[in-house]
Subunit: 356 residues, 2 copies
Amino acid sequence: MHSGENPAINHGGKGSENRRPRLADIAEAVGLHVSTVSRVLNDDASLSIRPETRDRILATARRQRYRPNAMARGLKQARTGALAMVVPLLRNPIWASIQRGALQAAVDGGQVVMILEEPPDHARPPADYQYLVEESRADGLLIATAQRSAGERSRTPTVPHVYLNRRGPRPGNNVVMDEEKAMRLFVERLSGLGHRRLGVLDGFKTIDTVYRRTTAIRRLCAEHGMSAAFVHAEDTEAGGYDATMGLLARRDVPTAIGIGNLNQLFGAMKALRERGASVPEDMSLVSFDEDDCLGYLEVPVTSVSMPLEALGAAAVRALIERVNGGSGTDVLLSDPLVLVERASAAEPRPARRLRL
Amino acid sequence: MHSGENPAINHGGKGSENRRPRLADIAEAVGLHVSTVSRVLNDDASLSIRPETRDRILATARRQRYRPNAMARGLKQARTGALAMVVPLLRNPIWASIQRGALQAAVDGGQVVMILEEPPDHARPPADYQYLVEESRADGLLIATAQRSAGERSRTPTVPHVYLNRRGPRPGNNVVMDEEKAMRLFVERLSGLGHRRLGVLDGFKTIDTVYRRTTAIRRLCAEHGMSAAFVHAEDTEAGGYDATMGLLARRDVPTAIGIGNLNQLFGAMKALRERGASVPEDMSLVSFDEDDCLGYLEVPVTSVSMPLEALGAAAVRALIERVNGGSGTDVLLSDPLVLVERASAAEPRPARRLRL
DNA sequence: CTGTTAGCGCATTCAC
DNA sequence: GTGAATGCGCTAACAG
């Protein structure tokens, strides 16, 4: 390995300090004007330049390891090249997938993503995050908090924004999953198996997805001549445990339960175990969150699988469109939305009553 | 609600368009010079101004909803006020906790955090992310990818950076957990219960935490006159399943297994179930990831709980210190590090041999 | 084909 | 106690 060379540091003009190279530095090195260099590096189509000069510029820029200064460029163009995403403070792994899809789409769109987490105790209205755009830290807002309209008639932000996995106060900026289709998979499968009394364990109704699921299930159950009992609890194991106990204490215990998220599912399974109800003989179970671990549980759990990464990606694309001045419309993701059949959903056992 | 007022839009001088208010706008409105306004808003100590004028400025700024432009300020000060965090593309929930801690600490330090996810297929050397600083998108790098030295002698970044939950090539920039202490909790507990043959199921040895754990366990086992068998596999359920099967096929089947992460744990439990090995009678189990769900499984799983949020927060603080010119030293988090005792770790049953 | 000029919004050194 | 001038690094409209 031959030493004596250090290409990392600029070695150009006399007074070249240890500063990062600027446009001016490479312009000087190549003996041209900054604006020419700028246009070449941004390959401005409306510029005719002799290839030789062009190449010299490009080569020099590469040699000096030139990097455009995002702040200077942004200041001039009134664009930051960044998006801000506000996520709820949740353990639920679905947010990891959504975030992943969003980050990927942002990279593809040449944007970076800043993440903020909303404190769990008090949800803030989306307009509270506008300052990020007003301070020129981001070009737009990805509002991924779970709560339905926080407060009275929450002001809608006056900056480019998109609601992710929830709906805002008005149509036009919402990127959501087709929860109705998801619930149809759930209800119709159980109906087909012969169930007539469904239980539903989910988060609080202030969460937009929960609200949409609940509405859909109610309608679908009516359609299929089924009854549905709802319990709402925190998105935690403890919440799922308690709520399931509540469900089992009803006069008309359901023969199948749909469960809103993974954490609640663990709680529910413990409750059933303690009550001596075996799955799926005494109780069928369907999770509304898919996760690989479901296939490895004592009894593998059937679930509804949704394209979460695609949801995050769609939201970013929608936001970029709005930042670019597009008007945009709501996006509803319906594909691929499938039931992952495992062992936890089966025909009800009519003969035996669940021991309480 | 009386209408006719819209405080959101600036209503100052004649030509005031719909643009966001600048320092110049409020200077004009108040009849002073921009520089004065700037100094007041940044409350410059070396400025003597009569309180009345000062208040007038502050009031006007608030009324106009003035927000300093982060790009303009950053350009001037050569500071972005942003940190970049590179995280591995993993399902493992520990990353959510680490990220959470980091975000919170950043907010406290007046910084925003941009997140990048490193593609799983090919890890890139940390220096590949320097461009974020070189482009003035961030002031420093939080390198939270899991791999040990990616490639040969990976160049260390020449910009402010900190390694999070892994060690870089050189000491001085590492913020890591005291894995040795964590492993001591594991080994000594099982030793105390009477186990003599330990199994360890973890990720690949190219992951720095895995490497450190392995080394520590080897040493601790020697100390306590125990043997240890290691299997390394992907951080997935399938990886854990296969590796556990491998462990069970050994001549000297261990009586207890430590498991590197949650996903592998689910796989391991399935393997044990299929082999008819009951926990903890035939096999004790300890997870190196703590999670609430562990308390709700068929047999609640004992785990080592680590302060993950604190780890993320410590890393951000360390990075901010470096950005501010501090030299910084390694940080080792040792508290609170505790064994969460549940049902999966118990005395070995010497009488019966595990049926293979 | 290339150079000149202006200015994005702010902080800061100096002058008065 | 306050104002003027300068420049951070870049792009864009307009000259030549």
